[in-house]
Symmetry: C2
Subunit: 293 residues, 2 copies
């Protein structure tokens, strides 16, 4: 059994990006610039954005953090987005989700210029991904593909079961795993809370990707011997013994499941760091105008 | 076993559309206008376009057929598309596929204004469909949903297996069948030519949607007793005994499979007529500016 080291892979990729950025800048090119909009002071969001800013530094990117208070009006926020759309120095930007309830996430996403949408959430990027055209692929699915690739895990013809059908993980993950390419070309099943035979489906999976957001949902009896298990869950479960007061908990009961796997990602240190690195890769593509002119 | 009568349902829907159009026109509204571009003289394409024009007449739509010879240049064709984009009287239009090899289908699709893209092939419509936003859903998957709805076939929690992963049927069909809505909310598996265990997957399907384009591929031993079988295949198989010289053949070996089904679509007269009706429904939506202002 191999524990997939997302942290090590992500560090390696950041170094690869930093090298390329140094070359670009040395050749007189523009340093990629990522901007992030953060609304309010949610603890999780603060951490995610701080990690993204830190990753930008390692990659040699310029980064800008733009903060709004939680009571910002939708009009103000959309005006801020339009300003970033216009700002020629900003190559790509993100709006950290979730947003306070009075703000429409969908309206926010659609207001972002798709050519700067390095999160890959805009309908044009989602559609181009489904069709198989060059685009910004959303970060978590792309990070998982990268892990499969770096560990040279076979996918063609394999049975891949995706747990969860969210717009940012489950659905794009399923679409990517069925494309005629590597990693991909798998037989893909998407299960969710209403699936009648979820346990049976999981048991047949060669590759199981858990993205339901239900801590420790996947138990040993749901995993085939020798399966590849990718854990996308990152729920903050209260834990009084920790300074932070919580424990980041995956969708997979790791201790129980791991012994049965050929490969498994831990939480933390598996998919999480790869998600940020995917954002960095998209920002590099944006800086190079590699996807859209 | 019930044979799903796509022809009867499609006639019924066309009458419903015609009634609504008559009301719109009586109230002083605009008669919906569909334009179709046909390149060359491929027999299949000629038939499809002729049937679409005929359906427009039944629905009370204005229709325009624009023909180009097979040697039209890409620039000429794209110019023609841009003209339709600008034409305020044209509510929606299609370019009949496939195109001669020297023309890029993807470039053609992306040149169509997504607000007039009643085939639902433009990346914006594909992406909005995946996210679950209002859009033009592509015709064949939408026609299949309509059949499931009209026959009140249960889908929630059921195992739905889609054979084929094309951009116009397999992939959107899978996405629609997993959405949190009816028809949908199913456990969805997509199989294709590289699937290791295709027969086993098929045997477990409560709903089997065959869209591989391989005549008579699905045999009786691939279908669970009581399954719903939807046949999207329409291959022209040579048949000297017919005046046309061919027989329209589905992906399902009907005579053998039908006795085991609870519901099955025939070929012809199943999904085919529904595809055209979906295009009519999208054109009505376009005429009413119901999706995009």
């Amino acid at each position: 059994m191999t524990i997939i080291d997302g942290k090590a892979i992500s560090e390696q990729i950041k170094q690869e990006i930093a090298t390329e950025v140094a070359e670009i800048v040395a050749a007189g090119g523009k340093r990629p610039h990522l901007a992030a909009i953060l609304v309010g002071h949610d603890g999780g969001s603060e951490t995610y954005v701080a990690n993204k800013v830190k990753a930008c530094r390692v990659c040699g990117f310029t980064s800008t953090l733009i903060r709004y208070e939680a009571d910002v009006t939708e009009d103000e926020l959309l005006a801020g987005i339009r300003q970033l759309n216009q700002d020629a120095d900003v190559d790509g930007f993100i709006v950290q989700l979730p947003l306070p309830r009075h703000l429409s996430e969908q309206k926010v996403i659609e207001t972002i210029d798709y050519r700067k949408d390095v999160d890959g959430f805009h309908p044009i990027n989602v559609g181009r991904m489904a069709i198989g055209l060059p685009c910004y692929v959303s970060a978590t699915p792309n990070g998982i593909l990268e892990l499969l690739k770096r560990y040279e895990i076979a996918t063609s013809g394999k049975k891949c079961v995706v747990l969860g059908r969210s717009n940012i993980v489950g659905k794009p993950m399923a679409t990517l795993m069925m494309q005629k390419t590597y990693p991909g070309d798998a037989t893909v099943t998407v299960c969710h809370s209403h699936s009648a035979d979820l346990v049976k489906e999981c048991r047949e999976a060669d590759i199981l990707i858990a993205a339901m957001g239900q801590p420790n949902f996947v138990k040993a009896d749901m995993v085939k011997e020798g399966a590849v298990v990718i854990d996308v869950g990152t729920t903050r479960v209260p834990d009084a013994s920790r300074k932070s007061g919580f424990k980041l908990t995956g969708d997979v009961l790791f201790e129980e499941v791991a012994p049965h796997c050929s490969y498994i990602t831990p939480v933390p240190g598996g998919v999480g760091p790869m998600t940020i690195v995917s954002l960095m890769k998209n920002t590099l593509l944006a800086g190079k105008k590699a996807i859209y002119p």
